[in-house]
Symmetry: C2
């Protein structure tokens, strides 16, 4: 691809971005769209905006950028939860490391590449992009030590920054657990795999078990019953009936707020939960179902139970310890928070879960492999002759003037890939649901991992290893040659990755800001269907699509940094824009209903480490190809040090993300007692 | 290799076995050797045998076999611990599954192989061994479904038997934990990573921490101090001095019985520990060191502490829960039993352990790869022309009559390999020590894993993939072709494996029974050095060499069963002989000082599953080579089912081997309270 084709593509995307951003700055000021752009605020503040017509509303402005940047981390934490902070820190980390990388690579390495071979340079716009990659450096070049040095600096700084961020998130997570108003979810344990005991109701079995084995801290429990099919249909019918009668506001509300807790340590100061007298009936969905299904009481199936403890420490111990000699019975896990419970999965038999996990794993692998077909097809499009062969109807256009051809080769493949990729997140979400997680946040986190693997495999590896499916499998069947193979192809694919950053990165960010779907939905709802406004429906932030997207760009940045540094300025623009846009979205648009408590950070950390090691392995291959044994020799200890660093983080910080330290639990109890 | 060469080798080994067994049956009746052959009994019973000269003593007999077989499992458990039972069950499992396999393969598959091709058969003794392998079956043979069916039956029965054994061992483990006289180790937690606090002694820091966070069940503690170098040399000098003065009996005893506990639940019924008055000083090595090193009290370094709890449940909770927000501080683990503590590793800084683990892992991998050189050399010896080239001085012998050549090709390679292998166990034990385990049993278990990987890699894979080191690495660099490659070479290597079973299996069993080293050591000690008898020195059973050995033979059996069934009768003899010999040794020779509580079983289980899956993959390759798509197609679901079965066992039974169920702990407390 020529520089001019790249510039065409960049120009289109910059134009689109500017258009979308201006549109956004206008649309956000229209009162009709306030639900789309300020969903979180509306649902929290319930304030009314003025409906008057003012000219100012129709002038594009940049005030929102300033507002988004002005918020501190504490405000973000308070408004959108720890996951939002982790996401924000990921962007900050990316900006920092890629600023450094851009500085080093554009001024240090790019000239080396450009003047790498003694060839006559034509005018820059008509230069081939390959001239800016390491492919243009001569074999046995004496300048390869610069690449090695830059690789060392980037890896070292990345590790230091990663460690600082990891420690910061871990500290925030501990504060999150320690904070003064305790969360009812922390006093509760979810029990699954309750054995079937005849002649004794499930409830008394749970009571007996916990009184006997955790008597000192056990408080009470709430059994979740499985609803029969008939019951389900009836409930569904009732709901539909109610919806038609426009009783939406209250009923939808009830179905979300499924359970309310009573905890002995929740003082009256807690504003989301109130202390109830003990004899008052606990309103819970489980209870409600039980009352409804009193007709077919015989068929009731005891699926799970929420067990409440007097202290957080009691709940922690009960969830950490193996209960009985059969590990699939009386399985205790920390309960998700009330809003976070994914009710449809609560009554899945615990024994099924391992096989569900394997089945969904296999399913997603098959899906990933099947997706090779469109990706391979798209990849072929970036070569002009392939394009003419595959889409013969384009022949007419391709005979058109030069810039048209540039437009198609530079832009079309990424757009098609983008459209295909829109189907991935819902399918992965479906897989994650089938897996059987008991909370929304766990489901989203699991989907996040799946989408991440999917993107790394299908966007990075498969695009790198162009060719037919069988050829690709051949590529991965000889692990020893992978570094050399990757080193051969990565520089050549840099131009594709740059256009990918432009289309998938920039354009998707501005469309995220625009909320095109939300806008259309809101318009149809309001002006076509003339429905009442639904204040309750505010979406959650789609971590499962956005985290993998940002991480993928990080992977592209690391792997291309030393080999084809031209991608870095484009990426840096993406990260800056992303920082502003995502902060704005988190603060204004999305509502945080549930939170994993920073559990996305280990995923982010592992992916960055993977990217670093992959970069180092590719560089090892490149140094090998360029016959530079010194540079290659120096790269091997770097790989070892990076892996050791990762292992250190695993020992030192990872345990904090899987369980709670007893000290924190007990300290908070002591704090409570003193108050 | 011809049948006659095999028979020569078998003849030699049978001769050696019979000789050794007869020698054993005579030697065991000599009073001078009683310490060698009845070490465990002597140390327990302290009885004296008559010294009179009776002719009967010099007549070989078989009474010991009957005696060894007569013991029940309960007696074995009482005498040698749960590990011995797990080892015994492994042999029983092997006998059962290979009896079935031998029956099916020798009568079902061997004739198919022998008459597989329409060739004129010569007399059986001069037949080539390859004629009995699957190599002799024609491509597209219509009899391959028999192989597939036999594979199904063996895999299915193996899985069922494995599950039954796993459940049995898990049940025994629970009983072991539940038994009425509680073990002091179960009330104790080993704390490492105690932070350095100035102006406060370590002991009071431990006291404060556990009183604050585990106050309800905390009893008291015992700090282990690190001894300085000078102190160590002095202690060593003192010991040597004492030994010279022949005060051996009492001092050695003290250094082993390092610590004595006082537990509130150890009633007077416990015969190994006595209830001491609270104010009596607890005699422990840690304390003793403290008293000795009172001179350099300033340099003392608080390394670890044993913390004692009132209940087993308290200790369980304290060891299960993450203590503080820094996972490398206040690390709590279940304490090993008093005899089991490996004192030299107790004071290793906990922060070092992760890097030690990685370093020893790398060290053992390097060792495994370096070992390729002798193995490759040996492998070359089994080909006659290679032998003449490499060991030219053998040329004279090789021109000798036919049986001499047969002797060398059939016997020499295994013997040389065997000699090299003797160095492996001590080196792996050294690696395991460097890893930093805090108990003898953990160290031995870790060494067992290392030796197992070593044997599977160096005896199985490297022998299979004959050739130079580089060629071998090439072999493993294309994972897709491995099944086909293995399928090509395994049948050809069957003759080597048969001789390996004969030399390494049969002969080493009889030398294990003979205790050649013990016999010589005892002889020198008694008649040359004229030292006093040392009743305390009775070795522990070398699980780290014997478990991998038996598992390797299982692997050979599974992989060769369908492809070269001639190995099975030889293996079956090995397992029967092993059953008798090892029972005898466990009951008479070795003393069980420490016990992992059946933790060897998961290793055994995983190895058998690995062997099964490897067998299935090799068969898949063979069916592919023989162009039998039906048989190959039927093998794939078998692999999936085997892996699913393994996953089921992991979910259902494995957790019992890593932690104790709370129910069992509390039930035993209730039981104690009722007494």
């Amino acid at each position: 691809m020529k520089i001019s084709a790249l510039l065409t593509s960049a120009g289109i995307n910059i134009g689109l971005c500017v258009l979308f951003l201006s549109l956004y700055s206008v649309l956000r000021k229209q009162p009709a769209n306030v639900r789309v752009y300020f969903g979180r605020r509306i649902s929290e503040e319930h304030s009314r905006l003025r409906e008057a017509f003012i000219l100012e509303r129709f002038v594009p402005s940049t005030g929102w950028i300033v507002k988004a940047l002005r918020y501190t981390e504490e405000e973000l934490l308070a408004a959108a939860g720890l996951d939002a902070v982790a996401f924000n820190r990921m962007l900050v980390f990316s900006i920092r490391i890629f600023s450094l990388a851009a500085l080093l690579c554009v001024f240090g390495i790019l000239p080396l590449h450009y003047y790498g071979k003694n060839i006559l340079h034509s005018r820059i716009p008509s230069e081939d992009l390959d001239i800016f990659t390491i492919g243009n450096v001569e074999v046995r070049s004496r300048w390869l030590w610069v690449h090695c040095l830059v690789l060392y600096i980037i890896s070292g700084v990345a590790c230091i920054l990663l460690y600082l961020e990891y420690r910061h998130i871990a500290r925030l997570r501990l504060l999150h657990l320690k904070r003064a108003t305790p969360n009812p979810g922390q006093f509760t344990v979810l029990v699954r795999g309750i054995p079937k005991i005849t002649k004794e109701s499930c409830s008394s079995a749970v009571d007996d078990f916990f009184t006997k084995y955790h008597g000192s801290s056990y408080l009470f429990h709430q059994v979740v019953y499985k609803v029969g099919k008939v019951q389900k249909i009836m409930t569904g019918a009732k709901k539909a009936c109610r919806k038609l009668k426009h009783f939406t506001d209250t009923t939808v509300d009830q179905s979300y707020k499924a359970i309310t807790y009573r905890c002995c340590l929740c003082g009256a100061s807690s504003n989301s939960f109130h202390l109830l007298p003990t004899d008052e009936v606990v309103p819970s969905r489980g209870k409600a179902d039980l009352d409804d299904s009193s007709l077919n009481m015989d068929n009731e199936e005891c699926a799970a139970a929420f067990v409440f403890f007097k202290t957080r420490y009691g709940a922690l111990v009960a969830s950490d310890v193996l209960q009985t000699s059969n590990p699939t019975k009386w399985v205790t896990d920390p309960a998700p928070e009330p809003n976070d419970v994914y009710w449809s999965n609560i009554w899945l038999p615990y024994k099924q879960l391992w096989i569900r996990r394997i089945a969904t794993l296999l399913g997603s692998i098959v899906f990933m492999l099947l997706f090779l077909a469109p990706v391979t097809f798209i990849n072929g499009l970036s070569q002009l002759d392939q394009l003419q062969k595959r889409l013969p109807f384009l022949n007419g256009i391709l005979k058109q003037p030069h810039h048209m051809v540039q437009l198609i080769t530079g832009y079309l493949p990424s757009v098609i890939l983008q459209i295909f990729l829109y189907s991935v997140a819902p399918i992965m979400m479906l897989f994650s649901t089938l897996e059987g997680p008991v909370s929304h946040s766990e489901r989203k986190r699991s989907a996040c991992c799946k989408v991440l693997y999917f993107l790394i495999w299908n966007v990075f590896f498969v695009n790198v290893v162009s060719g037919t499916v069988l050829k690709q499998l051949d590529f991965f069947s000889s692990p020893k040659d992978i570094p050399v193979q990757l080193a051969k192809v990565i520089p050549g694919q840099a131009s594709f990755f740059i256009t990918y950053v432009l289309t998938s990165g920039w354009a998707s960010l501005s469309s995220e800001l625009m909320q095109l779907f939300g806008l259309i939905y809101n318009f149809i709802r309001k002006y076509v269907l003339r429905m009442k406004e639904d204040t309750e429906f505010v979406p959650s932030f789609p971590y499962h699509t956005e985290v993998p997207k940002v991480l993928l760009f990080g992977l592209l940045g690391f792997t291309c940094s030393v080999l084809a540094p031209l991608i870095l300025p484009f990426l840096l623009v993406y990260f800056f824009l992303g920082y502003v846009v995502y902060r704005n979205q988190l603060l204004n648009v999305y509502r945080t209903r549930y939170d994993t408590g920073g559990l996305y950070w280990p995923i982010i950390h592992n992916t960055v480490i993977f990217s670093l090691v992959l970069t180092q392995i590719i560089c090892l291959g490149v140094f090998g190809l360029k016959v530079s044994p010194v540079a290659a020799g120096f790269t091997i200890p770097l790989i070892i040090f990076t892996l050791l660093f990762n292992q250190y983080c695993r020992t030192r910080l990872l345990p904090l993300f899987s369980t709670f330290p007893a000290q924190v639990c007990i300290a908070s109890i002591i704090l409570q007692a003193r108050k």
